[in-house]
């Protein structure tokens, strides 16, 4: 009898072990996870961990060293490029492996392998937009160049050395939580990561909604609301800069049916016409500027950059210094790709903002009715090239998706995968990111460029995503290039969906990259960019894009002052929260409410008074800032919802365009407040309605989280797994997308850098996160508070030496072959 009990208990024990060794839903295998030796506890890093180690890497050619400063920024010294990038790969994996894995999975449309059915549509979208296709193409270009092949191979070897050394115990915490394991790294993954960035920065397109709008609105109104170049743009290349004349002939607009018309039966939604378009991510923007020697107090050029990207933990960026006898570079690297992306070396410094010229176009494809495998092009029936995408689904059989490739590119949308707005005819996508481009070569050369001409030679290899690349050197020179690979387009080519059956709509010649807009040492003494329009109308080639202006106006107004600037001024400017939008519109709002002479409650009067006394700063604790932003939000949506009732949601005129229209309507004499007209205007009612809505919103907020601006806007730095426990919310930081310090909800300044390129190089930087990707490490989030408060770390740029004074470092790796 007792034995039987024994057997029963034994079976119960085994069952218990089995259950605790199995992941159930979102709950990890608890036994394995809680094990203090091998489980989650292994990720609890000792707070005073000494990283010092002596490591043997058989693949290294000679000895090398890595010094870690007190923020555990690694300073790598190797004797050759191979060893350098090998060690960079190892370091990236050592601190950020899970993040690199997730980001490349996200790029490749392989998230469902670990998540399951939930993310299938996301993965399909990635495959159908040709992410893997583009990454494979670029990898060929990367591996065709001996320099980047060496760089990539060494980097991958370094990552794999780390992965191969791991036991379950050493896996990053997230693998244990989510129940999967690291896989071998490949060169393709790094290529995918670069395409992931290209997608983030050039994946946005207005072609589809603009096509609807063009067909729905009267032409005059359409041009008024959606001008190609906004009036008064303070362009990236200062107005008046002389451009070389174009070496290519500007193509004429072809005759014939180059744009298909949308017909009622193309849209399944003619009755309830409110399709949802992806919201314009106007938080993805950035600032950079460089002041020439004559504009600074120390007489040395200063370069500043703050790219506004997704605010995630682990951060997108990883700080590093890379040294060999012929290069010495410091800056922000992307875990998953070799080199330094934004930074400086001992001769030059550079920074990036997104250029936003349109390099992604859509073509309407005419299917051959009798043969599903063919489409019409130039009067002929052309077979599709088929690419079968196998998408792994956790716990289910693979999902197979056939993607048809046309002469234009992959058919992203068809009746199996409908376009936004439910447009259900096939749409092919032609995108610069599909091309075999080698941005890594630009990074390789840029990292060791010694002067302006080497800088230019380097960046001419940077094709997609196009970037405004700012430059400063130790001789006091500054420059900026609107750099990328662009197509010599006829007017309006690619602005709307084009007719894919007509050969005249094809992308033809590429513009020689030396003819990209650029300027060296402009008369005004500085260069700057903040995602605004690139050039004035004197630039010979035609282009369109998604340019925004508010930050650029503010930055240029401040830098244009007759003043010699200091590094402190730069810190202040990067953290500037002054709202031009508010400055131009708040007077109109409050005046209209007063002139309408409606009865206000004492509460409403108080709110109005707050706004009138307000300094137009979107400060973290400002209450007026919240009232204004909510009011603007309601006004903007009410206004365009009324005017554009029948057009797709979320493609409204830009806020700055709305502001201009409002100012033109209310002021007879531009922006001078004295001449505000008190007669009735069509927007009076919208202003009143939005005021009432604002008061209602504010009342609700007062009862819950309060109306301090940082609480209302909720700047969040989210862990990539979306787990709240590893994320930070309601960070006490000011600003919004209309201010230089563009700290929005989940986007914002992802790396603030200020470099003075003088006799000494004085560099400062900070990013919202920490060097370690491990949530159990004190280095996981240790920069975050500094970033919130607008403070900077002094970056330790070591001289190019084999030996360093080891006493000034926290720990050191000694590496041997």
């Amino acid at each position: 009898m007792r034995r039987i009990y024994g057997v029963v208990i034994l079976i119960v024990t085994i069952c218990l072990i089995y259950v605790l060794d199995t992941k159930i839903g979102d709950i990890p295998a608890l036994g394995r996870f809680l094990d203090p030796v091998n489980g989650c506890w292994a990720s609890a890093e000792t707070v005073n961990r000494d990283f010092t180690a002596e490591i043997r890497f058989p693949e290294l050619k000679t000895d090398a060293s890595v010094w870690f400063d007190e923020r555990i920024v690694p300073h790598v010294r190797a004797e050759n490029d191979h060893d350098l990038f090998y060690i960079e790969g190892y370091l990236h994996a050592f601190f950020r492996l899970w993040q690199m894995d997730m980001e490349t999975r996200a790029a490749a449309g392989r998230v469902s392998e670990i998540i399951g059915n939930k993310t299938l549509n996301y993965d399909r979208g990635q495959r159908r937009k040709g992410m893997v296709y583009g990454a494979e193409n670029s990898l060929k270009a990367i591996e065709n160049d001996p320099r980047t092949k060496m760089m990539m191979d060494a980097y991958t070897e370094g990552i794999n050395h780390y992965i191969n050394s791991l036991k379950y115990r050493d896996y990053p915490l997230e693998y244990k939580l989510m129940g999967f394991a690291p896989e071998k790294w490949t060169n393709l993954k790094a290529s995918l990561l670069l395409k992931y960035m290209a997608d983030d920065l050039t994946g946005y397109t207005e072609d589809i909604p603009l096509t609807y709008l063009r067909d729905v609105l009267p032409k005059e109104q359409f041009l008024l609301l959606f001008p190609e170049k906004i009036t008064g743009s303070s362009t990236v290349i200062p107005a008046g800069t002389l451009f070389d004349s174009a070496t290519l002939a500007i193509p004429k607009v072809p005759e014939g049916a180059i744009f298909p018309k949308f017909e009622a039966n193309d849209k399944k939604i003619s009755k309830n016409y409110l399709p949802v378009f992806p919201e314009k991510q106007d938080g993805i923007g950035s600032n950079n500027w460089a002041l020439g020697a004559a504009k600074t107090q120390n007489g040395a050029a200063i370069l500043c950059n703050d790219p506004h990207l997704m605010l995630n933990l682990p951060s997108l960026w990883f700080e590093i210094q890379l040294q060999t006898p012929d290069r010495n570079v410091y800056g922000a690297s992307l875990p998953g790709a070799p080199g330094v992306i934004i930074g400086f070396n001992d001769s030059i410094s550079w920074g990036l903002t997104n250029n936003y010229r349109d390099v992604k176009d859509f073509y309407s494809i005419k299917q051959v009715e009798t043969d599903k495998n063919k489409y019409l092009f130039a009067g002929k029936q052309v077979p599709y090239e088929k690419r079968i995408e196998k998408i792994g689904l956790k716990g289910m059989p693979d999902f197979l998706d056939t993607v048809n490739y046309t002469i234009h590119g992959p058919v992203m949308y068809d009746d199996h995968f409908t376009a936004p707005g439910n447009y259900n005819k096939p749409l092919a996508m032609c995108w610069m990111a599909h091309n075999a481009t080698n941005e890594l070569l630009a990074v390789y050369l840029l990292n060791k460029a010694k002067n302006y001409s080497e800088y230019v030679d380097a960046i001419l290899n940077f094709q997609c995503p196009a970037q405004n690349m700012v430059y400063a050197d130790r001789l006091g020179n500054v420059a900026i290039w609107g750099q990328g690979q662009f197509v010599n387009k006829w007017k309006e080519q690619g602005k709307y969906i084009m007719n894919g059956a007509d050969s005249t709509t094809l992308w033809k010649e590429l513009i020689p990259m030396r003819e990209n807009p650029h300027v060296l040492n402009p008369e005004r003494g500085f260069v700057s960019s903040a995602n605004q329009c690139v050039t004035d109308s004197t630039y010979p080639y035609w282009y369109n894009g998604y340019f925004i202006e508010l930050r650029a106006w503010r930055i240029n107004a401040l830098l244009n002052r007759d003043k010699k600037f200091t590094i402190d001024d730069m810190f202040k400017l990067q953290n500037d929260t002054h709202s031009l939008l508010a400055e131009s519109t708040i007077g109109i709002f409050t005046n209209v409410i007063e002139h309408l002479k409606i009865k206000l409650t004492s509460e409403e009067e108080n709110y109005l008074k707050l706004l009138k006394d307000w300094d137009k700063e979107l400060g973290a604790e400002s209450k007026a800032a919240s009232i204004y932003q909510i009011w603007w939000y309601h006004f903007y949506n009410d206004k365009w919802n009324t005017t554009l009732k029948r057009v797709p949601e979320n493609l409204f005129p830009l806020p700055e365009r709305t502001m201009q229209l409002l100012v033109n309507e209310y002021y007879t004499n531009d922006m001078e407040k004295e001449t505000l007209e008190t007669i009735k205007h069509i927007d009076d009612n919208v202003i009143l309605k939005s005021f009432k809505e604002t008061i209602d919103s504010i009342k609700i907020l007062e009862k819950t989280i309060g109306i301090q601006w940082y609480m209302v806007k909720n700047t969040t730095v989210k862990h990539l797994s979306r787990l709240d426990a590893f994320s930070y919310q309601h960070l006490k930081i000011g600003g919004w997308s209309n201010t230089v310090n563009a700290a929005k909800g989940d986007h914002g300044p992802s790396w603030r850098m200020v470099v003075e390129m003088g006799k000494d190089i004085n560099a400062y930087g900070v990013y919202p996160g920490g060097q370690s990707g491990n949530p159990g490490s004190k280095y996981y989030d240790d920069f975050l508070q500094y970033w919130v408060e607008g403070k900077y770390y002094k970056l330790q740029f070591l001289p190019n030496n084999k030996e360093q004074n080891n006493n000034s470092f926290k720990s050191c790796w000694t590496l041997h072959p």
Binding site: L16, G31, V37
Partner: protein
């Protein structure tokens, strides 16, 4: 005294074995020790429970203390527990139960005459 000895043996051997084998090796250790020590089932259960719990508690307390509760605090949040102490408690409980059950089974399976 055999009770105390069991606890110490289980804790000590498990701490060594778990470094090389998966987490469920704690069950094997508790089973074997309990089988060899031949105790009453209830006593065995307690020894198994306390042995593994003791080992896990010591390990976790040391790790957590040198980590300033950074990890345990976050994981408590993940599992919706009020504080890091609860997370430690749950950890210990899971280890203890597995140790206890394995030891209990061993005591029952061992021939009853010898007790």
């Amino acid at each position: 005294m055999r009770f105390i000895l069991s606890i110490i043996l289980i804790a000590f051997i498990a701490s060594f074995v778990e470094y090389f084998l998966p987490w469920w090796s704690i069950a094997i250790v508790a089973f074997i020790v309990s089988f060899a020590m031949a105790q009453k089932p209830a006593v065995s259960f307690l020894a198994g429970f306390l042995g593994i719990a003791l080992f896990w508690l010591c390990a976790v307390l040391f790790i957590d203390w040198s980590n300033n509760h950074i990890l345990s605090g976050k994981l408590a949040f993940v599992f919706k527990l009020p504080n890091y102490g609860m997370f430690i408690f749950i950890t210990i409980l899971v280890g203890g139960i597995i140790g206890g059950f394995a030891a209990w089974a061993a005591a029952l399976l061992r021939s009853p005459e010898k007790v």
